[in-house]
């Protein structure tokens, strides 16, 4: 049976964990399809991007569309230059995972991607970390997601970096799940550091599947 094509765009607040979720998702999907493309579409003051680990991810078999640090002149000042292969990312065969940066324009960044709004498979997923004060409460999350434009689902990625405990992830799941139902959107997954697997289990308190993250982004600063 053919595996359906997966096209996902990860959007969300600064430091919500978009890139980590996107990388892990792309690597996970590598087992399903021959070709998985991971694109870095972070255009607002990008740092903590895929850039520093592009080659490493390529070596794992991903088709990575991103700048590397050395190629970008001046980072924040001219680093938000769109490459042609970013614009045409959806023409890649196989699964496509897009890491879309933060910024007030939200999912409108996908206007820069050719054919994004016509793509029947496109799922725009908002990564939410309730440790971020602007997305800490149900009401704030609802307001925030509404302002993003078209969105298909939420991902709970509530964490406090190395201080994260299971209870925090679970409480985040409750909050994000309530926000999701108010928005009429699914809570697609909870993401958590793989170190929490033993205590957290396969599903969170809301019955949502937990995706475990290997952390790559710690090494990607600037």
């Amino acid at each position: 049976m053919p595996v359906p094509r997966i096209v996902e765009a990860y959007v969300g607040e600064y430091a919500s964990g978009k890139s980590e979720c996107a990388i892990n998702r792309a690597l996970e999907l590598l087992n399903e399809k021959e070709m998985v493309t991971l694109a870095d579409l972070d255009f607002v003051e990008p740092f903590y991007t895929l850039r520093p680990i592009r080659e490493e991810l390529k070596a794992k078999g991903l088709n990575v569309i991103a700048w590397t640090t050395g190629e970008t002149l001046g980072f924040g000042e001219t680093g938000s230059v769109v490459r042609p292969d970013m614009r045409w990312v959806l023409s890649n065969p196989g699964h496509v995972i897009m890491d879309v940066g933060y910024g007030v324009k939200g999912s409108k960044a996908l206007n820069l991607v050719e054919g994004s709004w016509q793509d029947p498979d496109l799922q725009i997923l908002v990564v939410v970390n309730t440790a971020r004060p602007m997305t800490a409460s149900v009401e704030d999350i609802v307001d925030y997601v509404k302002a993003l434009g078209p969105v298909h689902g939420l991902i709970n990625n509530s964490h406090l970096g190395d201080e994260t405990v299971v209870g925090f992830v679970q409480e985040g799941a409750r909050v994000v799940s309530r926000a999701a139902s108010m928005l009429g959107l699914p809570l697609v997954a909870t993401c958590a550091d793989e170190g929490l697997k033993e205590d957290l289990g396969e599903v969170d308190v809301t019955g949502t599947q937990v995706r475990y993250l290997k952390r790559h982004m710690q090494r990607t600063f600037w």
Binding site: F47, Y48, F75, G76, E77, M134, L160, G161
Partner: protein, 362 residues
Amino acid sequence: MAEKPIQGEKRVFMTGNEVVAWGALAAQADIMYGYPITPQNEIMHYWSRLAPKHGKKFLQTEDEISAGFTTIGGTIIGARAFTGTSGPGNTLMQEPMSMAEMYRVPAVFIIQQRGGPSTATVIYSQQEVTLTTFGGNGEGYRIVYSTATHQELFDYTIKAFNTAWKHRFPTFVLADGYQAKMREPLTIYDPEAKGIEMVPTVPTLGKEGVPGVDRPPVHMTNTRNTEEELYEVVKGLQAAYEEMWPEVEEHEAVECEDAEIIIVCHGVVTRSARVAVSQLREAGIKAGYFRPITLRPFPVEPMKQSIKGAKQLLMVESAQGQLARLVKDSIYGSTIPIEPMFRPGIGISSEEIVEKVQSLIK
């Protein structure tokens, strides 16, 4: 009156620039003036997102000169006002900063250092120490806090407003591109809940009443005719600066009491020094670190005390000796050898410090 932006306290996860915006909000800042430059942009991004929700204001000016002077305007009329900049923007802003020194305008400036000279990198450095402490034409009548963690960024952003308004010298929070952009957990809080009272702001210009009728007019000029006149003014500033010095100076001295080698650093490099010292101690090496938190006024006496028993100092900074100049000036008379570890514009890891110390001990 808008609801308090932060109720009680809360553990959160964010980037350094956001921390500054939240710190200013917690400190009840009224208005930010600013001009885009990397790596301080998200201070403006987040302030301009948060401001209208809390009855605060933001003005994007035409350049950093204007950002500095509008901040002075806002402050002098009694608003708790601030701005943020970096690198070439910091250079441009020295003009208003020097006016703030002369008029003792309690404006708050956030500096996120980037690489220099010139445009260089937008990433990171500690190369704006000299500029931030002694830039401008004058004597450096400023207060400069150098932070190392997100918690400190929050704490000292709040403190900067209070120090500025209490002592009436322009006050700076000096961080860098790493701190601006990295993310880590911290506790944000309502200062009142921690027993921190915000020093009330007072307008210098535009008080109530008809000037010349109900009260004398306020006529501010910083122009002096004679050398002697200026000398009196500067001596007055100097005296006021020296008076507040002991109250304002801050430092951190860790494991210095019995240390044979003391690492001297500031800002984000402190994080590496901290790890290095604990590893060195585990390895049986008597190491400690001394870190000025206020680069101006420099904690001179605490530093002299802390290094008294040591055999050697290791100066570690992401600049070619900008901190070292402040240190040498402060410990004048001491014959302790100083080993430089100057890495202009580049990060310094704990491993590198450990390695360096081990090579010195041998």
